[in-house]
Subunit: 174 residues, 2 copies
């Protein structure tokens, strides 16, 4: 269903159904209204990581120019406009590489799982430590409000364990 | 010892000692004469990987514009001028992140180990499948010829297991 049809449906079925239908086609995350930034896949690498457990992924953290500069200069808190994007892919053994390598040892990125975006705006996101969050799957924002709430619920814990981190887990890897 | 002192030593001790001394300060890899490309740390991410075993690292593969375009267009062989840079860091458990995460599950990039560079030039590097190689530590090329020989010795195996790969292990991760 296109945007036109969604708007038509909103007009036809009234505000409530319309809001739900339009949200299904929304380009921004719930709560925070964060968009997937244009061109983020070309941004500079901040670092890499691997999550075991339920995530079982391998990930890369990229940043826009404002974020990268702050990371490299160890500047905290991050200035407004900093955007950090975390890409993740299934963590998988590479039979292809292991056929060549001296031992079974190679793990690579499989299918993409999701992309998480953190946007710094101290005023707009004052209620969540200055950060707005969004999770994107296949280029579209996940509309689950409960999921969106887990972002700050987890990041805020860093304020206790490492007050100087400005709620950011990643460090820059040279 | 600075470059000036190295040159002075070369003049003082003659050609042979001088060559060895100057090689110690060389900016290019043995065999291939590959340099660490200027600005590579700002290049676009191709993918990530993790090596267990003796390497025990987590890694990111970046590419220059020519390489990234070829990866994204699935173009093989790579055109001349393509440069692929593999950065690696110690793979380490993050007690810092695990203190916040729901379970001990977070692994991150520790200290950098080395940077490996592959340069495509079908004519110049015809004897090694069109690729020149170099390994850099702390920004300087490792001068061990035997180490440099292991690059092509391993990559060439891909010509057997996957002839269409143009000797490149990494695939692009969207």
């Amino acid at each position: 269903m296109g945007v036109g049809a969604l708007i038509a449906a909103a007009l036809l079925f009234g505000g409530s159904a319309g809001t739900a239908a339009l949200r299904h086609g929304a380009q921004t995350s719930p709560i925070y209204g964060v968009q997937l930034p244009k061109g983020y896949r070309d941004w500079v690498l901040i670092s890499v990581a691997q999550e075991k457990g339920r995530n079982n992924d391998i990930r890369a953290i990229l940043g826009n120019a404002i974020a990268v500069k702050a990371f490299r200069e160890h500047r905290r808190p991050f200035p407004d406009g900093a955007i950090i994007v975390r890409l993740a892919w299934r963590y998988q053994s590479s039979a292809r590489n292991d056929a060549v390598f001296p031992a079974p040892q190679s793990f690579v990125a499989g299918a993409p799982t999701n992309v998480q975006v953190s946007v710094k705006d101290a005023k707009r996101y004052a209620a969540s430590g200055g950060w707005g969050y969004g999770q994107f799957e296949g280029g579209l924002p996940n509309q689950d409000r409960a999921l969106a709430e887990t972002c700050f619920a987890c990041h805020r814990k860093l304020a206790v364990t490492e007050p100087g981190a400005d709620l950011v887990f990643t460090s820059y890897s040279p």
